[in-house]
Symmetry: C2
């Protein structure tokens, strides 16, 4: 079993040498810029899930890469003036500041289409179908965020953050070819990760759940999600120790 850090390096190398569609020409530069940096959490979850489910993590690299491309697409579009209007991302100028709004808009579009190309590397349509559903859920969450149409933060983040985290487990299972009948407890695990990630994010940023509930109550929410995640792992008849490490890392992370 490879540790989370080793899996992060694996996906980092994969993305750094990823071939993009040659028709994209110089547009590729803005896409690679948007893909640099980041913690690769979704990809690491996908690779660790696949390895725990019985295949070499390399088998899941196209699926893990697809998740990171969808994540990068969502950040590039979120940062645009029409949405969050953020000038900085991962300590650097955001894509539209570095390349202009038009190129950044197209870079996001191309990252999404390339994500599907990667998810379509498998002989089954299942990974790409799961990616499409998760992406649509995430966009539904972004819509709730900008219109304020959500009843509460849970409804918002179940979609905006949760769908892609759940799919990180789901695509790992699909890449491993685990039969649907055996996926239940794995998916229950995946359902907890988005909330766990988001609450800790809000505590670190002092907004969202932390602003709404106070840091202490938010910390309690994160610990409860981590507890449920570990309980789900305990129900899986496989060595899920690396997934357990990932849960620990999500609880204790400081960046």
């Amino acid at each position: 079993m490879q540790a989370p850090d080793a899996l992060a390096r694996l996906v980092g190398d994969y993305l750094a040498t990823l071939e993009l569609n040659p028709d994209l020409g110089a547009q590729q530069g803005s896409m690679r810029y948007a893909l640099e940096g980041g913690k690769r959490i979704r990809a690491v979850i996908c690779l660790a899930t696949a390895e725990a489910a019985g295949v070499p993590p390399e088998t899941a690299l196209p699926a893990a890469g697809a998740l990171e491309l969808v994540h990068a697409f969502s950040l590039v579009h979120d940062d645009l003036p029409a949405l969050d209007d953020d000038d900085e991302r991962r300590g650097r100028p955001s894509a539209h500041v570095a390349f202009g709004e038009g190129v950044a808009l197209l870079a996001g579009d191309a990252l999404l289409a390339e994500a599907f190309r990667l998810a379509l590397s498998y002989s089954s349509t299942a990974p790409a179908r799961e990616l499409a559903d998760a992406t649509l859920g995430m966009i539904g969450g972004q819509y709730l965020d900008i219109t304020g149409a959500h009843a509460d933060l849970d409804e918002l983040h179940r979609l905006k953050t949760g769908r892609l985290f759940a799919a990180s487990v789901g695509l790992g299972l699909q890449a491993a070819g685990l039969p649907a009948a055996e996926q239940g407890p794995w998916r229950a695990f995946g359902e907890e990760l988005g909330l766990l990630f988001q609450v800790v994010d809000d505590i670190l940023d002092g907004d969202g759940y932390a602003a709404l509930l106070g840091a202490e109550a938010a910390r309690g929410l994160a610990l409860a999600a981590a507890r449920r995640a570990r309980a789900a792992l305990a129900a899986i008849p496989a060595d899920t120790s690396v997934l357990g490490e990932i849960v620990d890392g999500l609880v204790t992370r400081s960046v």
Copy 2:
């Protein structure tokens, strides 16, 4: 064999009743708005190709719908202030004027993801893979358009317009399950349609090829593309009469 008008009605009914991902919630309204109207040329080519290749056109409806969703996505994003900044589309306010820039941006993203969901209705990954490659080529063309990095209009439109027209034939063949070894002359036909469409578009709008070459020379270019398209059809061992009608319609259209 169904006539082009009947095929257009078929795809119009399909799109009007298309179920979108329920997680999209009220965002669906902006997507349906962006899908209304339009000539459905790409979808009709796809359905007519599938029927000529030996299956009922209904078999190709998800593929044809996917092409229209990709086309609608590209129009919604092209019309945004960051790209062409067009306030009107199909005689109505463009999506960002009707719904705001943020919602329009997300509507385009969601149309693209839904397009893949449709193309993934088939048991083979081939239709979705072809859609991904065509979409990436189209985006590469949009990039050339906004950066002015193309050597000539042919290079620009081979990508920006041509890729999705060629894929309209390609997805019809995939939906029909035509073996790759038999697809050659069909694909040669599909390669001519983008240029034919674009040159006539420019003649009607008085820009592009018409502005560069004059209306008469542009007309000659369109007729030459139509001639090559008909020659390609003549090499196909099937009843391609409806595809011939479509070529005639593209040459003589006035809107």
